[in-house]
């Protein structure tokens, strides 16, 4: 008999900078072991996932992380009273800290999560990558954190241009000179705050791994992918699974050493000499996770099982040469859907009332 579960998921922004919500939901819905009701948690009322068919059963708007943990928990308590959520899967870097902090209080409400520990989350920050590399014996590009204009002029003493200019959470641009660094510094700091990370530009092919750690040092799944088509925002619009023992060994080693709990994405550069440089660890499932499901590893399903305390057998095989290609698609909706989510902060796909708008 299938296990009936109510699962809440964030990251429904299926845009050209996609959140992982919809791919995570697709993985869970593919599970032969669960019968699920999906609760979408959205920040914006135009996140496409809210309106997609067969994905989210009901969506609730939730406050931004900047509103504070108490406000988020108050909203979660309201939603919990109506929905009886079993598992919550947050999918945004920027919200993870709040949900990790609230882990115990969510558990008291009956909501399970399977997130990294605060220490794991903190030490893999982009701004702490050099220390992370040293501690876990992984190659990382040289990088420094800068917090002011003056420091931009010292970059040339330590790096050769081009360099990468990165935000704390998101955004990364290549800069070939100081003027470009200033430009990117302004743009990124206005959006994501300080510090700005200046990173050595390592030439090579970008390869990524989606993985799941059980929190005890075991890798429950890991799939490697090479981006084939990259958008101007640097996001994978197409990708293909690859088999690379060195990359997978590195993933296993990192999960064993950090005792990583939850989903993760390792972003690496493979140089022409076959060396690997870790450029980023995203502490959550990436938006391309459905490729892993297609290649034979249902990582979202395994994460849910770990969250509810079920035994999970590590997934060690996947097929290489499995591809994904994203596409854009115009959904046609009615203003009443938008009205409902905008006015009440909730949208039940089965109970859409006709709008009473008078033209």
């Amino acid at each position: 008999m299938k296990n009936r579960l109510t699962i809440a998921v964030t990251g429904l922004n299926n845009t050209d900078n996609p959140g992982p919500g919809i791919p995570v939901i697709r993985g869970i819905r593919d599970s032969k072991d669960f019968d699920v009701r999906i609760i979408g948690l959205a920040y914006e009322n135009l996140e496409p996932g809210i309106y997609m068919d067969h994905m989210v059963d009901k969506t609730y708007q939730i406050p931004y992380p900047s509103a504070g943990i108490d406000n988020i928990l108050r909203r979660m308590a309201y939603i919990q009273a109506k929905e009886n959520i079993d598992v919550l899967i947050p999918n945004f870097d920027a919200e993870l800290y709040s949900f990790m902090k609230a882990e115990k209080r969510l558990e008291e409400m009956g909501i399970q999560t399977f997130l990294p520990e605060i220490k794991q989350f903190e030490e893999r920050h982009k701004s702490a990558l050099p220390e992370f590399g040293k501690k876990y014996h992984v190659n990382v590009p040289k990088s420094i954190n800068i917090t002011s204009y003056n420091e931009i002029y010292t970059i040339k003493d330590e790096f050769q241009y081009p360099v990468l200019v990165k935000g704390k959470f998101y955004d990364a641009y290549i800069a070939y000179n100081e003027e470009q660094v200033i430009n990117h510094f302004n743009k990124i700091s206005a959006k994501w705050g300080l510090p700005i990370i200046i990173q050595e530009f390592v030439k090579g092919t970008e390869v990524n791994v989606v993985a799941l750690g059980d929190g005890k040092g075991n890798t429950m799944g890991a799939v490697a992918m090479r981006k084939q088509y990259i958008t101007d925002k640097g996001k994978a619009w197409g990708g293909i699974t690859i088999h690379d023992d060195k990359m997978l060994d590195l993933t296993h080693q990192l999960i064993a050493n950090t005792k990583w709990r939850g989903g993760m994405e390792l972003e690496m550069i493979k140089t022409t000499d076959g060396e690997y440089y870790l450029i980023e660890i995203n502490p959550r499932i990436p938006a391309w996770v459905y490729l892993a499901v297609g290649a034979g590893q249902n990582i979202p399903e395994a994460l849910v099982k770990l969250a509810i305390g079920e035994e999970v057998t590590p997934m060690t095989y996947y097929e290489s040469g499995i591809m994904f290609i994203r596409y854009s698609f115009d959904m046609i909706g009615n203003i009443s859907q938008f009205e409902q989510i905008s006015m009440t902060g909730e949208l039940d796909k089965k109970e859409i009332n006709h709008s009473t708008l008078n033209f």
Binding site: T205, V207, M225, R226, Q228, G239, I240, T241, I242, H243, D244, K270, S320, G321
Partner: protein, 82 residues
């Protein structure tokens, strides 16, 4: 010269390197050469087979074969000699 183990070749001449995700398109001569390499045939055997199957002069094959294998090496499709 040995082809790497993770190279897949289709009947149409499409080649996929499963360790890097790179893919290549080959014409029928290239496909035949790669398939013979995959069978661990010697360079002499491969050339003999190509001369038998295609209308080509030995000198022309010699130079094209050299260019082709250099390209395979550049694309990292060949096992490095130990």
């Amino acid at each position: 010269m040995k082809l790497k183990g993770n190279i897949a070749i289709s009947e149409s001449g499409f080649v996929f390197d499963s360790s890097t995700g790179e893919s290549y398109n080959l014409n029928s001569v290239g496909k035949d050469i790669l398939n013979l390499m995959k069978e661990n045939k010697s360079e002499e055997d491969i050339k003999r087979q190509i001369l038998q199957d295609y209308d080509v002069e030995p000198e022309a094959l010699e130079s094209s074969y050299y260019d082709f294998t250099r390209m395979l090496s550049q694309f990292n499709l060949i096992e490095h000699e130990k």
